[in-house]
């Protein structure tokens, strides 16, 4: 179902050499990929496994809480449409309008951006979703600019689950789904959220106060309706993906040079 992309094998070699695969025992896998704190990125990037660095791509410095506030990320919907499972992410409600806690949002957004950048580094295919007609064009443009994919139209049922028959060939499914809007245009959860969970594809979702946080791997609580906030998210995800891809290019170049040196010596 998932075809391996070119170069993914090379990065896996590096990762495999540094992680222990220990499934012989019945206990949980002992994978030594715990990120260490206060690790500087060395000049020769192939020396460390990027996953051990807490913030390899400097994602934490890409935005501030003030940026989120100015993009109106803290505005949720009204109290009546509040999904009970979104309560922990709220700061409170101001005259029945729910307000998100931007410190919590910032933390979640950093995690989501980090995951996006690492996925891009490993050569993953990223698919953006946005079913809001005002913001659909922004999302499509973003996807184009970072060389990834977007699906902002009607979602046909079996696109993930029945891809072999609908596309009439074995299809490479995305390695990450980013939902700028988890609801579809009839205010129900987007089918692709459930389908991505079915097909073992991690999903990042901007979850508003009226949305369900079910089945989304990395959620980012925040406003998903204002064009200002969608533009901010799009620019951040685009930046993360471009950084990941740039590092990938560097890394592959280094590996090539190392192999050349080995051949010469």
């Amino acid at each position: 179902m998932l075809l391996k992309g070119q170069g993914q094998g090379l990065l896996r070699i590096i990762a495999n050499n540094m992680t222990k695969k220990n499934f012989s025992s019945a206990t949980a896998p002992a994978l030594e990929i715990e990120p260490k704190k206060d690790v500087e990125v060395p000049t020769k990037i192939s020396r460390i496994n990027p996953l051990t660095h807490p913030d390899y791509f400097g994602v934490g410095k890409m935005f501030t809480v003030r940026d989120l506030m100015e993009a109106r990320v803290h505005f949720g919907h009204k109290d009546g449409s509040l999904n009970d499972r979104m309560k922990p992410y709220l700061f409170g409600s101001r005259l029945n309008h729910t307000i998100f806690n931007l410190d919590i949002t910032a933390e979640h957004l950093k995690r989501a951006l980090n995951v996006t950048a690492h996925t891009a580094l490993q050569g993953g295919l990223i698919l953006f979703f946005c079913r809001s007609s005002i913001n659909a064009h922004t999302v499509e443009k973003t996807a184009k600019e970072c060389g990834e994919f977007a699906h902002t139209r009607y979602w046909r049922g079996g696109t993930f689950t029945n891809s072999k028959i609908q596309f009439k060939a074995i299809t490479r499914l995305p390695d990450l789904c980013i939902f700028l809007n988890t609801l579809n245009n009839v205010m129900l959860q987007h089918t692709a959220v459930r389908d991505a969970a079915k097909m073992n594809i991690p999903s990042i979702g901007i979850v508003d106060s009226n949305c369900s946080p079910d089945l989304i791997t990395y959620l980012v609580p925040g406003n998903d309706d204002s064009p200002a906030s969608i533009e901010l998210y799009c620019s951040l995800f685009k930046e993360a993906i471009l950084r990941g891809k740039a590092k990938r290019k560097e890394l592959l170049q280094e590996i090539e040079n190392m192999e050349k040196e080995q051949k010469d010596s």
Partner: protein, 128 residues
């Protein structure tokens, strides 16, 4: 290659870990997200249809809301339609000045009477 489609039973990570442990999936064939998820798991693990936590959503109110609710603003300008540039509303200026004077009073602990706090005559609304 085996994959589990049971999205309600566990999240993607637990399902793939199960397959790897059981030997249904080889380590070399693991999906792309597996290492990334191990290193950077979500801040809160995703559990399908988990019970909502019993938290009360706090209502956001400020000290000046008491003033906003009780004071009579009939003679105070809310919005000047003639102005081209949006100027600070007289009502908001009043609240800001009052807020400043109350916080100052609280700092000096010289609150005195309520009339002193809300001393309307001495406030200069045109000053900005």
């Amino acid at each position: 290659m085996a994959f589990s489609r049971l999205e309600k039973i566990g999240n993607i990570y637990t399902r793939v870990t199960g397959l790897l442990r059981a030997g249904a999936m080889k380590w070399e064939d693991r999906p792309l997200f597996y290492d990334i998820y191990t290193a950077f798991p979500p801040i809160k693990e995703n559990v399908y249809m988990e019970e909502a936590p019993k938290i009360k959503v706090r209502e956001i109110f400020y000290a000046e809301d008491q003033e906003r609710a009780t004071r009579d603003y009939t003679n105070m300008l809310a919005f000047d339609m003639n102005e081209k540039k949006p100027k600070r509303f007289d009502r908001q200026k009043f609240i800001d000045k009052q807020h400043i004077s109350t916080t100052k009073a609280q700092q000096t602990e010289d609150i005195g009477s309520k009339e002193k706090l809300f001393d309307v005559q001495n406030l200069d609304l045109k000053k900005d």
